[in-house]
Amino acid sequence: MTVTKEYVVGAKLPPSGLFVQDAGGRWQHAGFNHPFIFSLDYDTADPSILYLAAGNGLIRSSEHGGKWKILTGSDVTELRDVSADRNTPGTIYFAHSHGIRVSHDRGATWKEIGAGLHRTFTEAVRADRRQAGAVVAGGEEGIFRSEDGGGTWHLAGAAGFQITRIEQSPHDGCEWAATTQSGGVFLSHDCAKTFESSGRIGVGATLYDVSFDSGDAKRIAVAGWGPGVAISEDGGRTWQSRNAGLPVPEVVSVIFDPNVRGRIYASVRDDGLYVSNDVGRSWSKQGLDGSVINRMKFVPDVRK
């Protein structure tokens, strides 16, 4: 999901929004021009349906991006993250500027579940694929976990830090990672019940993204402004900076390619997309020049 730099509300908007890369590596703009899409997830029952967390609501994109429907109303704005529950098809969570909402009917109706949080601004949300009804969210005051679908929340870690991203390991669902503004990386080894600091990486800077490598259970990448891309090969105990070939160590999003071992993508501030085929030891440009890429996601291809 990209936005063109220099955009302010009301300005002319060059192609922005959702971009899809096909098997041949070509980027295609899908759906409407849109200035603020921050996150996406896919419907577990039908991965051709995408849920987009956007500034103007939760958008369902179907027909390979060609058809959009805004699923939310005037009571939420500036959505930050979305997570489809792998346990319960049709259940979707999203984080927004003033809380967290859940739908159990694919977005037909929504319920606010963030009211129990002291401060409601929420940047990150993930449904726990191991446990139905378990949700992990990150906002202004740390990482919170609910085991009853958002009825009650308990502080799980990173107290006092603004959370920017939360991810669950594709290998072991009890392994989690979260990035923060100024507090570095926090890891959980106990199914997101508690999170502990993972050393100095990113402390004093902002880390914006974290990605587990589905091909290597111990490999994790983080991305941030200052640290650039850093890789851990030992489950987060130690980190190595991997910025050779990036124009600046100011990285907004990072993701491992689940289909190609050692391949990783990174988006550099407003300078488009970069790719590395050696786990970040060297980087080369991969297109989308002049764009801010807020988030990347691999989605199962169901077009055949």
């Binding site: 220099e6 302010v8 009301g10 908007l13 021009n33 704005t77 930050r80 003033h98 402004w225």
Partner: protein, 584 residues
């Protein structure tokens, strides 16, 4: 190329007397409909011509040309909504189809401010009303769109009539709130929506009427641009002051917000509002309670209260809020504005400010990530991160006002980005005298004397375009300001003598504190961070009304607004959607 507008605006001024509201209205519309310069005014010219039922062929061609590449989000929605309603069978079918198609194939962004949402939902409501069976960019039905829009519009009216606006009293954005209410008052089919909008027009005009001086919006503002701040006649408010009350002068090119306001309901204020807007025969203090913009982070409450005081008399006005960061980037907290015969090109205002910018401020009011946030803001708000700036609130500024006395205190932490205070001393101040007592005495125009006592040493820095900036690099700081009419004293020296006779006491440690018996006989005691005391009594902010003063009155949460002048009274009841006019 737009200077050709000016003669048009005044072409219909009668040789004797003020042009009527209808004449002013037509002059503003004609400025767009009969534009004589190079190029054209795009959507605005199309809308103005359609209103006049002129040149439908050109309108159709131009509309299709513009709709080939829509852009502008909600600022695109409001002109094309007006065009759709002003069409009335004039446009060619191909142009109408292009309009229809655009609402299906272009997704205008909803934005992130109060004015964005109001524009967006008003237009979505009206277009869905017009085309009940259409396909929309939202992917939802016309009925769904209308219901979503209705809910937001009604919630905005409720919030505004109970706790005040968030983007309050903006000399620029006032037009963006008037415009949608004018649309709904003219074009909504639902009688309740239509009535509510018409009543909101009265409220919005009443919000401005007592706080204008010669048509200029005075005092504290949620949002203002720097060019409007230092030269108030640049504000959109000048257009409305001229249109509604015949005050001052419209801008050479009237704001298109005023145009679209006129093309819809073109509402002419009732006599009670005209009197409130123009009667400056007696000095008065007007109070308002507003609210902050949405505070997403770092606060327990989404909105905080804003307490405004505005003192107005024929010669000048003094206005303020309580200080602090109440709005991001464009807040203006206090000023003195003096009357001049023609305010165009005149910087008839005086104020001080702590230039503050921070990621904390931006993250409070926006969902921005921290990195690049300030850089991003500066792209459109050029002075946001400048030490020389004159615009913006500061968490380290606290203000109290009683009539025409203002005390602004500063307690700035050493690590703050810009550790100094700026004072705006305009090119149009006269007789500026730096007295050995520490007071600065000066004259604003031919009408006003201003005394300013900086509590710390200062130096002068030039301002590009004229005037001087007072620069005081002391963290514990403050200013005591007393204003009077020029007619109250024989000369500036006499005014100064009267000020020096007032026994000012102050200290700077541990925090700035002032005790000042004002020219009007009120002893003001103000310690930074403490409730101010007037004649020994602490100001009780809990009792601050939504509107309070001789002309406009409303209690918080009452949803009842009373407009009064002389024997005239209008009561607006937003709970029951009733308006009652009485004459005593």
């Amino acid at each position: 190329m737009k200077f050709a507008i000016l003669p048009l605006l005044f072409a219909c001024v009668p040789l004797h007397g003020q042009p009527s509201f209808e004449q002013r209205k037509l002059a503003m519309i004609d400025a767009y409909a009969h534009y004589q310069g190079k190029g054209d005014y795009g959507y605005a010219e199309i809308a103005a011509k359609l209103w006049r039922h002129e040149d439908a062929g050109w309108c159709s061609r131009k509309l299709q040309e513009l709709l080939a590449q829509p852009s502008g989000d909600m600022f695109w929605m409001y002109p094309v909504t007006a065009i759709a309603y002003l069409d009335q069978g004039q446009l060619e079918e191909s142009a109408r189809q292009a309009l229809h198609r655009a609402w299906r194939t272009y997704m205008p962004y909803r934005g992130d401010t109060e004015n964005h949402f109001l524009l967006y939902y008003t237009c979505l409501y009206l277009m869905s009303q017009m085309w009940p069976n259409a396909d929309w960019y939202t992917g939802n039905s016309s009925a769904h769109n209308m219901e979503e829009a209705r809910q937001w519009i009604e919630s905005w009216v409720h919030l505004t009539t109970t706790r005040g606006q968030g983007e309050y009293d903006s000399p620029h954005y006032m037009g963006v709130f008037l415009l949608p209410m004018s649309y709904l008052a003219a074009w909504a089919s639902d009688p309740a929506m239509k009535k509510r909008a018409a009543m909101m027009l009265d409220l919005l005009i009443a919000d401005y009427a007592p706080e204008n001086l010669d048509g200029l919006y005075v005092g504290a503002h949620a949002r203002v641009y720097e060019s409007q701040l230092v030269e108030p006649s640049n504000g959109v408010s000048a257009d409305f002051g001229w249109l509604w009350f015949g005050l001052g002068h419209a801008q050479a090119v009237p704001a298109n917000y005023a145009l679209y306001y006129l093309l819809a309901s073109g509402y002419e204020p009732p006599e009670v509002l005209k009197q409130i807007g123009t009667d400056r025969s007696q000095p008065y203090t007007h109070l308002e309670r507003k609210r902050t913009r949405n505070r997403w982070r770092f606060h327990d409450d989404l909105h905080g209260p804003v307490y405004k005081t505005t003192y107005v008399r024929r010669e000048y006005a003094v206005g303020s809020d309580q200080g602090g960061v109440l709005q991001p980037i464009q807040q203006h907290s206090w000023d003195v504005t003096w009357s001049v015969p023609d305010a165009r090109g005149v910087q008839n205002t005086f104020f001080t400010v702590h230039p503050y910018s921070s990621t904390q401020e931006l993250q409070t009011y926006f969902v921005f990530n921290p990195d690049g946030a300030t850089e991003g803001v500066v792209k459109s708000k050029k002075t946001y991160d400048s030490p020389d700036k004159l615009l913006g609130g500061s968490p380290f500024e606290k203000i109290v006002q009683d009539q025409d006395t203002v005390i602004a205190l500063y307690n700035i932490p050493p690590e703050t980005r810009f550790p100094h205070v700026n004072g705006f001393f305009s090119k149009d101040l006269r007789e500026v005298v730096e007295d050995k007592s520490g007071w600065i005495f000066m004259r604003g125009g031919d009408s006003t004397y201003i005394a300013c006592r900086p509590l710390q040493p200062y130096s002068w820095k030039p301002i590009e375009g004229g005037g001087r900036r007072l620069f005081s690099p002391y963290l514990k700081n403050g200013f005591v300001v007393q204003v009077s009419g020029r007619s109250e004293f024989p000369d500036l020296a006499s005014f100064g003598k009267a000020i020096l006779a007032l026994p000012l006491e102050f200290r700077l440690d541990p925090v700035p504190a002032v005790r000042f018996p004002s020219l009007r006989g009120t002893t003001i005691e103000f310690t930074y961070g403490m409730p101010p005391r007037l004649n020994g009594h602490a100001i009780d902010y809990d009792q601050w009304p939504l509107f309070g003063g001789p002309f406009v009155q409303s209690e918080v949460d009452s949803q009842r607004l009373i407009l009064k002048h002389g024997s005239l009274q209008r009561t607006l009841d937003f709970k029951n959607l009733t308006v009652a006019d009485t004459r005593n």
